[in-house]
Symmetry: C2
Subunit: 307 residues, 2 copies
Amino acid sequence: MSARVLVVGSVALDDIDGPFGRHPEVLGGSASYFCVAASYFTPQVSLVAVVGDDFPGAHVDLFASRGVDCSGLERVPGKTFRWRGRYTDDLTSRVTLDTQLGVFADFRPRLSEGQRSAELVFLGNIDPVLQLEVLEQVRRPRLVACDTMNFWIGGKRADLEKVLARVDLLIVNDEEARQLAGVHNLVRAANVIRGMGARTVVVKRGDSGALLFHDSGVFAAPALPLEEVRDPTGAGDTFGGGFMGSLAREAEITPAAIRRAMIYGSVMASFSVEGFSLDRLRSLHPPDISKRFASFRDLTQFDDISL
Amino acid sequence: MSARVLVVGSVALDDIDGPFGRHPEVLGGSASYFCVAASYFTPQVSLVAVVGDDFPGAHVDLFASRGVDCSGLERVPGKTFRWRGRYTDDLTSRVTLDTQLGVFADFRPRLSEGQRSAELVFLGNIDPVLQLEVLEQVRRPRLVACDTMNFWIGGKRADLEKVLARVDLLIVNDEEARQLAGVHNLVRAANVIRGMGARTVVVKRGDSGALLFHDSGVFAAPALPLEEVRDPTGAGDTFGGGFMGSLAREAEITPAAIRRAMIYGSVMASFSVEGFSLDRLRSLHPPDISKRFASFRDLTQFDDISL
């Protein structure tokens, strides 16, 4: 029996350029990556987001085919959120060429009765004011996690701090952690953030893996060294989906369960970057995931000897 | 019974500036960090290097107090190799302000009878022509490892390739691996380098840890997240010393032994960066090392569950 996971975030149409050519009008958005990744762990994933009347039905079909509850995916007149970016040849950095909020600008998340009872809640990278509105609607979740970004850290800090005071877990990348805490050292940055309320902090570091800081200490999940990386877009959101999905399968959210979630998040992210958009993510089979989990074990395993 | 480790490299006087103030005239050089780190694992470490008549006897006393065989540390008239650099406030990068080769410019490594029989040989980051001269002098080492840097990769490539064809293991940082292989992706870069002869490649990535590529697959050693980092100088050389020292204790150089060496290298590097120069490294006790090895286990340990 797995728990219900609720994600509130963005569903978008991306236009991605880079060393492997341009991919216009592909499925994107943090909640898209999140919910498809989480769907491999629990049949109970609810998506709350908004799209315009230009959003292809095939993308909704993808969510539905993965068993995602799309009753909270509003379709309203107007344009879907669009992001256009270009990666450098080595895929290590990207520039945003254009952002069109479209119908996302007026997004107000409204949860159904069933969604309010979700046990695991993920507040995707949206305006902290909206994150607070979601927190007002949920009942007694076992765990609330949130994401954020430089735009909100700089522009809506007071609201963001209200969110952090009410969530259990923050998932951000290293630069966001540093900006939020105002210190460069990641151990100190995590301590500052934990002092704001989120007792568990997960710092994503791209191909350097992810770090977990919580009351039980520190854990380092590596990134799987990959020979073929095609599209890093959504890797962090995919990590979040694998992480929360993995927690949904656990009878109890113990420190060991959170470590497992770190690895399953990394497993799903390693698949995501192998293809464009959600191409690789949409077509996984459970044995692919188990096999890659085993690769992470093999990647990190070592023994001491008595001398 | 541990094996003899021979290191040929630089012993220097550093002048380090950064967020914690300027530290002029401190002990530095790749071989200094290496041999002190290795000395915690085996009583048989031989240092082959050159210093000028300005080199403080106290530094030689330090090596000797750690049981290092200093018979190959030549003292000749002239100035010791000096390096002056400044770190950025976040310690993530540094600029070289001055390099004075001094007596190091005419360094010609000469091995004694005993040193020629060393079982583990580390060719520090010196001119590949000198690395080849060392290879001509050693007898039948069980393992030869080498380091190199951008200066030799760019300027003495043909000689460096001759070295790589004759060593078992290359330890470099990520940028050096990329430059040497001519590709950005680290998995591919390691494969290219392995094709040059060095069947085992260790890629050091600073606070992202180190990756091992060899016939038995890939292993990722994390860096220990530290709250206090004072001086990253010599961290990579310290890693090499811990790595080779750890191998010297092994009855056989198995894949499991190399993984342990990756962790002991990381353990020693984590101490090194906590103090300036060799300050932290010189005063360790064996239980400090065991304890920190346990921290690395705790940092990486995870279990799967059957679902």
